[in-house]
Protein backbone atom coordinates (compact mmCIF):
# COMPACT_ATOMS: atom_id res chain seq x y z
CA UNK A 1 0.00 0.00 0.00
CA UNK A 2 1.41 3.36 -1.09
CA UNK A 3 1.24 6.50 1.07
CA UNK A 4 -1.61 7.96 -1.00
CA UNK A 5 -3.71 4.83 -0.51
CA UNK A 6 -2.73 4.81 3.16
CA UNK A 7 -3.98 8.38 3.50
CA UNK A 8 -7.21 7.63 1.67
CA UNK A 9 -8.03 4.31 3.29
CA UNK A 10 -6.52 4.45 6.79
CA UNK A 11 -5.95 8.05 7.86
CA UNK A 12 -9.45 9.06 6.86
CA UNK A 13 -10.68 7.09 9.91
CA UNK A 14 -8.37 8.92 12.30
CA UNK A 15 -11.16 10.99 13.89
CA UNK A 16 -13.22 7.89 14.59
CA UNK A 17 -10.13 6.13 15.93
CA UNK A 18 -9.46 9.10 18.19
CA UNK A 19 -13.01 9.12 19.54
CA UNK A 20 -12.89 5.37 20.17
CA UNK A 21 -9.52 5.64 21.94
CA UNK A 22 -10.76 8.58 24.01
CA UNK A 23 -13.87 6.66 25.01
CA UNK A 24 -11.84 3.66 26.15
CA UNK A 25 -8.93 5.51 27.76
CA UNK A 26 -11.03 8.46 29.00
CA UNK A 27 -8.15 10.82 28.32
CA UNK A 28 -7.68 12.98 25.23
CA UNK A 29 -3.88 13.10 25.29
CA UNK A 30 -3.53 9.35 25.88
CA UNK A 31 -6.03 8.80 23.05
CA UNK A 32 -3.96 10.99 20.73
CA UNK A 33 -0.82 9.01 21.56
CA UNK A 34 -2.65 5.73 21.04
CA UNK A 35 -3.90 6.80 17.61
CA UNK A 36 -0.43 7.88 16.62
CA UNK A 37 1.02 4.55 17.79
CA UNK A 38 -1.58 2.68 15.81
CA UNK A 39 -0.98 4.70 12.64
CA UNK A 40 2.78 4.02 12.86
CA UNK A 41 2.15 0.30 13.41
CA UNK A 42 -0.28 0.13 10.51
CA UNK A 43 2.17 1.99 8.27
CA UNK A 44 4.91 -0.47 9.14
CA UNK A 45 2.60 -3.34 8.23
CA UNK A 46 1.01 -1.64 5.25
CA UNK A 47 1.86 -4.51 2.91
CA UNK A 48 -0.82 -6.67 4.56
CA UNK A 49 -3.45 -3.91 4.51
CA UNK A 50 -4.22 -4.53 0.84
CA UNK A 51 -6.04 -7.72 1.84
CA UNK A 52 -8.31 -5.98 4.37
CA UNK A 53 -11.92 -5.86 3.17
CA UNK A 54 -13.44 -3.45 5.71
CA UNK A 55 -10.74 -0.96 6.64
CA UNK A 56 -12.92 0.95 9.10
CA UNK A 57 -13.78 -2.17 11.10
CA UNK A 58 -10.20 -3.45 10.92
CA UNK A 59 -8.65 -0.19 12.16
CA UNK A 60 -11.31 0.24 14.87
CA UNK A 61 -10.68 -3.29 16.11
CA UNK A 62 -6.92 -2.68 16.12
CA UNK A 63 -7.48 0.60 17.98
CA UNK A 64 -9.59 -1.07 20.66
CA UNK A 65 -7.03 -3.86 21.14
CA UNK A 66 -4.22 -1.34 21.43
CA UNK A 67 -6.16 0.70 24.01
CA UNK A 68 -7.01 -2.40 26.04
CA UNK A 69 -3.31 -3.38 26.00
CA UNK A 70 -2.44 0.12 27.22
CA UNK A 71 -4.93 -0.20 30.07
CA UNK A 72 -3.55 -3.63 31.01
CA UNK A 73 -0.02 -2.24 31.05
CA UNK A 74 -1.03 0.71 33.23
CA UNK A 75 -3.56 -1.10 35.37
CA UNK A 76 -2.90 1.00 38.44
CA UNK A 77 -3.46 4.24 36.60
CA UNK A 78 -6.99 4.87 35.53
CA UNK A 79 -9.23 1.96 34.69
CA UNK A 80 -12.32 1.98 36.85
CA UNK A 81 -13.87 -1.24 38.15
CA UNK A 82 -15.79 -3.07 35.44
CA UNK A 83 -19.18 -2.90 37.17
CA UNK A 84 -18.99 0.62 38.48
CA UNK A 85 -22.26 1.83 39.93
CA UNK A 86 -23.55 5.36 39.72
CA UNK A 87 -22.79 7.31 42.91
CA UNK A 88 -24.79 10.35 43.89
CA UNK A 89 -22.64 13.41 43.15
CA UNK A 90 -21.37 15.53 46.02
CA UNK A 91 -22.13 19.32 46.04
CA UNK A 92 -18.90 20.09 44.20
CA UNK A 93 -19.72 17.56 41.49
CA UNK A 94 -23.24 18.91 41.31
CA UNK A 95 -21.88 22.32 40.37
CA UNK A 96 -19.60 20.65 37.84
CA UNK A 97 -22.50 18.76 36.36
CA UNK A 98 -24.73 21.75 36.16
CA UNK A 99 -26.09 20.88 32.77
CA UNK A 100 -27.60 17.61 31.70
CA UNK A 101 -25.27 17.19 28.71
CA UNK A 102 -22.13 17.07 30.86
CA UNK A 103 -23.92 14.69 33.24
CA UNK A 104 -24.75 12.37 30.36
CA UNK A 105 -21.17 12.45 29.10
CA UNK A 106 -20.03 11.48 32.57
CA UNK A 107 -22.65 8.73 32.80
CA UNK A 108 -21.45 7.21 29.52
CA UNK A 109 -17.82 7.45 30.65
CA UNK A 110 -18.74 5.65 33.87
CA UNK A 111 -20.20 2.66 32.02
CA UNK A 112 -18.05 -0.48 31.81
CA UNK A 113 -15.59 -0.28 28.90
CA UNK A 114 -17.50 -2.68 26.66
CA UNK A 115 -20.83 -0.91 27.13
CA UNK A 116 -19.47 2.58 26.60
CA UNK A 117 -17.55 1.44 23.53
CA UNK A 118 -20.66 -0.20 22.07
CA UNK A 119 -23.05 2.68 22.80
CA UNK A 120 -20.64 5.17 21.24
CA UNK A 121 -19.95 3.01 18.20
CA UNK A 122 -23.68 2.74 17.63
CA UNK A 123 -25.03 6.15 18.67
CA UNK A 124 -22.08 8.37 17.78
CA UNK A 125 -20.40 6.51 14.90
CA UNK A 126 -23.67 4.99 13.64
CA UNK A 127 -22.16 1.58 12.94
CA UNK A 128 -24.05 -1.58 12.06
CA UNK A 129 -24.38 -4.21 14.79
CA UNK A 130 -22.42 -6.68 12.62
CA UNK A 131 -19.51 -4.24 12.37
CA UNK A 132 -19.52 -3.62 16.14
CA UNK A 133 -19.58 -7.38 16.67
CA UNK A 134 -16.44 -7.75 14.53
CA UNK A 135 -14.63 -4.93 16.37
CA UNK A 136 -15.50 -6.21 19.84
CA UNK A 137 -15.18 -9.91 18.87
CA UNK A 138 -18.68 -10.55 20.28
CA UNK A 139 -21.72 -12.13 18.70
CA UNK A 140 -24.32 -9.75 17.26
CA UNK A 141 -26.73 -10.84 19.97
CA UNK A 142 -24.20 -10.03 22.71
CA UNK A 143 -23.67 -6.59 21.16
CA UNK A 144 -27.43 -5.92 21.20
CA UNK A 145 -27.70 -7.04 24.83
CA UNK A 146 -24.82 -4.78 25.89
CA UNK A 147 -26.24 -1.88 23.89
CA UNK A 148 -29.61 -2.30 25.53
CA UNK A 149 -28.05 -2.46 29.01
CA UNK A 150 -25.99 0.66 28.36
CA UNK A 151 -29.00 2.64 27.11
CA UNK A 152 -31.19 1.44 29.98
CA UNK A 153 -28.58 2.48 32.56
CA UNK A 154 -28.28 5.93 31.04
CA UNK A 155 -32.05 6.25 30.92
CA UNK A 156 -32.46 5.23 34.56
CA UNK A 157 -29.87 7.73 35.67
CA UNK A 158 -31.35 10.54 33.59
CA UNK A 159 -34.74 9.84 35.17
CA UNK A 160 -33.17 9.71 38.65
CA UNK A 161 -31.51 13.04 37.99
CA UNK A 162 -34.81 14.54 36.86
CA UNK A 163 -36.51 13.24 40.00
CA UNK A 164 -33.74 14.64 42.18
CA UNK A 165 -34.01 18.07 40.54
CA UNK A 166 -37.80 18.09 40.94
CA UNK A 167 -37.51 17.17 44.62
CA UNK A 168 -34.98 19.94 45.16
CA UNK A 169 -37.27 22.47 43.50
CA UNK A 170 -40.29 21.48 45.64
CA UNK A 171 -38.40 21.44 48.94
Amino acid sequence: MESTQFNNQVLKHSDKLFRLAKSILRNGDAAQDAVQDLIVKLWEKRTVLDDVENMQAFTMRSMRNLCLDTIRQNKDEDELPVELEYVEPNPHQQVERKDLASLIRRLIDDLPELQRTIIRMRDVEEMEISEIAYITTLTENAVSVNLSRARQKIREQILNEQKRVEETVWK
Binding site: L17, F18, R19, I39, W43, R105, R155
Partner: protein, 171 residues
Protein backbone atom coordinates in the same frame (compact mmCIF):
# COMPACT_ATOMS: atom_id res chain seq x y z
CA UNK B 1 -46.46 11.35 19.94
CA UNK B 2 -47.53 7.72 20.39
CA UNK B 3 -45.22 6.66 17.58
CA UNK B 4 -42.28 8.50 19.20
CA UNK B 5 -43.03 6.81 22.52
CA UNK B 6 -42.87 3.40 20.86
CA UNK B 7 -39.72 4.31 18.99
CA UNK B 8 -38.06 5.52 22.20
CA UNK B 9 -39.00 2.32 24.02
CA UNK B 10 -37.61 0.31 21.13
CA UNK B 11 -34.45 2.43 21.21
CA UNK B 12 -33.84 1.82 24.92
CA UNK B 13 -34.34 -1.92 24.36
CA UNK B 14 -31.58 -1.76 21.75
CA UNK B 15 -33.88 -2.90 18.98
CA UNK B 16 -34.00 0.11 16.65
CA UNK B 17 -32.41 0.14 13.22
CA UNK B 18 -29.98 2.84 12.08
CA UNK B 19 -32.79 4.41 10.03
CA UNK B 20 -35.08 4.57 13.08
CA UNK B 21 -32.27 6.01 15.18
CA UNK B 22 -31.67 8.67 12.52
CA UNK B 23 -35.37 9.50 12.79
CA UNK B 24 -35.03 9.92 16.58
CA UNK B 25 -31.98 12.14 16.16
CA UNK B 26 -33.85 14.29 13.67
CA UNK B 27 -36.80 14.55 16.06
CA UNK B 28 -34.64 15.62 19.01
CA UNK B 29 -32.76 18.16 16.87
CA UNK B 30 -36.06 19.81 15.90
CA UNK B 31 -38.09 22.40 17.79
CA UNK B 32 -41.10 20.07 18.01
CA UNK B 33 -39.97 17.85 20.87
CA UNK B 34 -42.82 16.91 23.16
CA UNK B 35 -42.34 18.15 26.73
CA UNK B 36 -42.53 14.57 27.94
CA UNK B 37 -39.53 13.67 25.79
CA UNK B 38 -37.55 16.80 26.54
CA UNK B 39 -35.55 14.99 29.22
CA UNK B 40 -33.93 12.78 26.54
CA UNK B 41 -32.97 15.64 24.23
CA UNK B 42 -29.59 16.12 25.93
CA UNK B 43 -28.71 12.48 25.27
CA UNK B 44 -29.01 12.94 21.52
CA UNK B 45 -27.31 16.34 21.70
CA UNK B 46 -24.31 14.67 23.38
CA UNK B 47 -24.08 12.04 20.63
CA UNK B 48 -24.18 14.77 18.02
CA UNK B 49 -21.49 16.82 19.81
CA UNK B 50 -19.22 13.81 20.24
CA UNK B 51 -19.51 12.97 16.55
CA UNK B 52 -17.91 16.31 15.73
CA UNK B 53 -14.88 15.71 17.93
CA UNK B 54 -11.73 15.33 15.84
CA UNK B 55 -8.17 14.08 16.29
CA UNK B 56 -5.55 16.78 16.74
CA UNK B 57 -2.53 17.74 14.65
CA UNK B 58 0.18 15.17 15.57
CA UNK B 59 -1.14 12.70 13.01
CA UNK B 60 0.35 14.89 10.31
CA UNK B 61 3.75 14.46 11.93
CA UNK B 62 3.47 10.73 11.42
CA UNK B 63 3.06 11.25 7.74
CA UNK B 64 5.90 13.77 7.67
CA UNK B 65 8.17 11.21 9.32
CA UNK B 66 6.93 8.64 6.82
CA UNK B 67 7.94 11.05 4.06
CA UNK B 68 11.34 11.29 5.66
CA UNK B 69 11.58 7.51 5.52
CA UNK B 70 10.69 7.70 1.84
CA UNK B 71 13.37 10.33 1.29
CA UNK B 72 15.88 8.12 3.07
CA UNK B 73 14.91 5.28 0.81
CA UNK B 74 15.58 7.48 -2.21
CA UNK B 75 18.89 8.62 -0.72
CA UNK B 76 19.85 5.06 0.10
CA UNK B 77 19.14 3.92 -3.42
CA UNK B 78 20.94 6.94 -4.85
CA UNK B 79 24.07 6.32 -2.81
CA UNK B 80 23.94 2.63 -3.62
CA UNK B 81 23.64 3.55 -7.29
CA UNK B 82 26.61 5.91 -7.08
CA UNK B 83 28.64 3.21 -5.33
CA UNK B 84 27.71 0.66 -7.96
CA UNK B 85 28.60 3.11 -10.77
CA UNK B 86 31.95 3.86 -9.14
CA UNK B 87 32.76 0.19 -8.77
CA UNK B 88 31.74 -0.42 -12.36
CA UNK B 89 33.89 2.48 -13.57
CA UNK B 90 36.91 1.17 -11.67
CA UNK B 91 36.19 -2.34 -12.91
CA UNK B 92 36.00 -1.27 -16.55
CA UNK B 93 39.08 0.91 -16.30
CA UNK B 94 41.10 -1.56 -14.24
CA UNK B 95 44.72 -2.13 -15.36
CA UNK B 96 45.11 -4.80 -17.98
CA UNK B 97 47.62 -7.61 -17.76
CA UNK B 98 50.20 -5.89 -19.95
CA UNK B 99 49.16 -2.29 -19.36
CA UNK B 100 49.51 -1.59 -15.63
CA UNK B 101 47.42 1.52 -14.83
CA UNK B 102 43.93 2.72 -13.76
CA UNK B 103 42.06 5.92 -14.66
CA UNK B 104 40.41 7.94 -11.89
CA UNK B 105 38.68 11.20 -12.79
CA UNK B 106 40.44 11.03 -16.20
CA UNK B 107 43.88 10.82 -14.64
CA UNK B 108 46.14 7.86 -15.26
CA UNK B 109 47.07 6.08 -12.01
CA UNK B 110 49.96 3.66 -12.30
CA UNK B 111 50.03 2.62 -8.65
CA UNK B 112 47.63 -0.30 -7.84
CA UNK B 113 47.95 0.63 -4.13
CA UNK B 114 46.75 4.19 -4.80
CA UNK B 115 43.81 2.92 -6.86
CA UNK B 116 42.90 0.47 -4.13
CA UNK B 117 43.15 3.13 -1.41
CA UNK B 118 41.03 5.49 -3.49
CA UNK B 119 38.33 2.84 -3.95
CA UNK B 120 38.39 1.97 -0.22
CA UNK B 121 38.15 5.63 0.78
CA UNK B 122 35.11 6.15 -1.46
CA UNK B 123 33.47 3.03 -0.05
CA UNK B 124 34.07 4.24 3.51
CA UNK B 125 32.66 7.69 2.66
CA UNK B 126 29.50 6.08 1.30
CA UNK B 127 29.28 3.78 4.31
CA UNK B 128 29.53 6.75 6.67
CA UNK B 129 26.90 8.76 4.78
CA UNK B 130 24.52 5.83 4.81
CA UNK B 131 25.12 5.01 8.46
CA UNK B 132 24.63 8.64 9.59
CA UNK B 133 21.54 9.06 7.49
CA UNK B 134 19.94 5.88 8.72
CA UNK B 135 20.76 6.17 12.42
CA UNK B 136 17.26 7.33 13.48
CA UNK B 137 15.65 4.62 11.45
CA UNK B 138 17.20 1.55 13.03
CA UNK B 139 13.82 0.23 13.95
CA UNK B 140 12.48 0.38 10.45
CA UNK B 141 12.69 -3.06 8.98
CA UNK B 142 12.53 -1.74 5.47
CA UNK B 143 15.62 0.35 6.01
CA UNK B 144 17.43 -2.61 7.51
CA UNK B 145 16.76 -4.51 4.33
CA UNK B 146 18.34 -1.66 2.46
CA UNK B 147 21.43 -1.80 4.62
CA UNK B 148 22.01 -5.26 3.25
CA UNK B 149 23.02 -3.50 0.06
CA UNK B 150 26.13 -2.41 1.93
CA UNK B 151 27.13 -6.03 2.36
CA UNK B 152 26.85 -6.47 -1.37
CA UNK B 153 29.09 -3.45 -1.85
CA UNK B 154 31.61 -4.95 0.56
CA UNK B 155 31.46 -8.23 -1.33
CA UNK B 156 32.12 -6.39 -4.56
CA UNK B 157 34.95 -4.53 -2.86
CA UNK B 158 36.43 -7.84 -1.75
CA UNK B 159 36.21 -9.07 -5.32
CA UNK B 160 38.10 -6.00 -6.54
CA UNK B 161 40.77 -6.55 -3.91
CA UNK B 162 41.04 -10.17 -4.94
CA UNK B 163 41.43 -9.19 -8.59
CA UNK B 164 44.02 -6.60 -7.64
CA UNK B 165 45.86 -9.20 -5.63
CA UNK B 166 45.80 -11.72 -8.49
CA UNK B 167 46.97 -9.00 -10.80
CA UNK B 168 49.91 -8.12 -8.51
CA UNK B 169 50.91 -11.78 -8.20
CA UNK B 170 50.77 -12.21 -11.98
CA UNK B 171 53.05 -9.20 -12.40
Amino acid sequence: MEMMNELLEKYFRGETTLVEEAELKKYFASQDVNIEHEIYRALFVVFDQEKNETAKAPLKKVMVSQNRVKQLWIRTFSYSGIAAALILALWIQRPKQNDDYAVIHGRRIDSPEYAQQYAEKKMNDINMILKDGLKPMHRMEVVKQNLQLLNKISETQDKILEIEKTHTINN
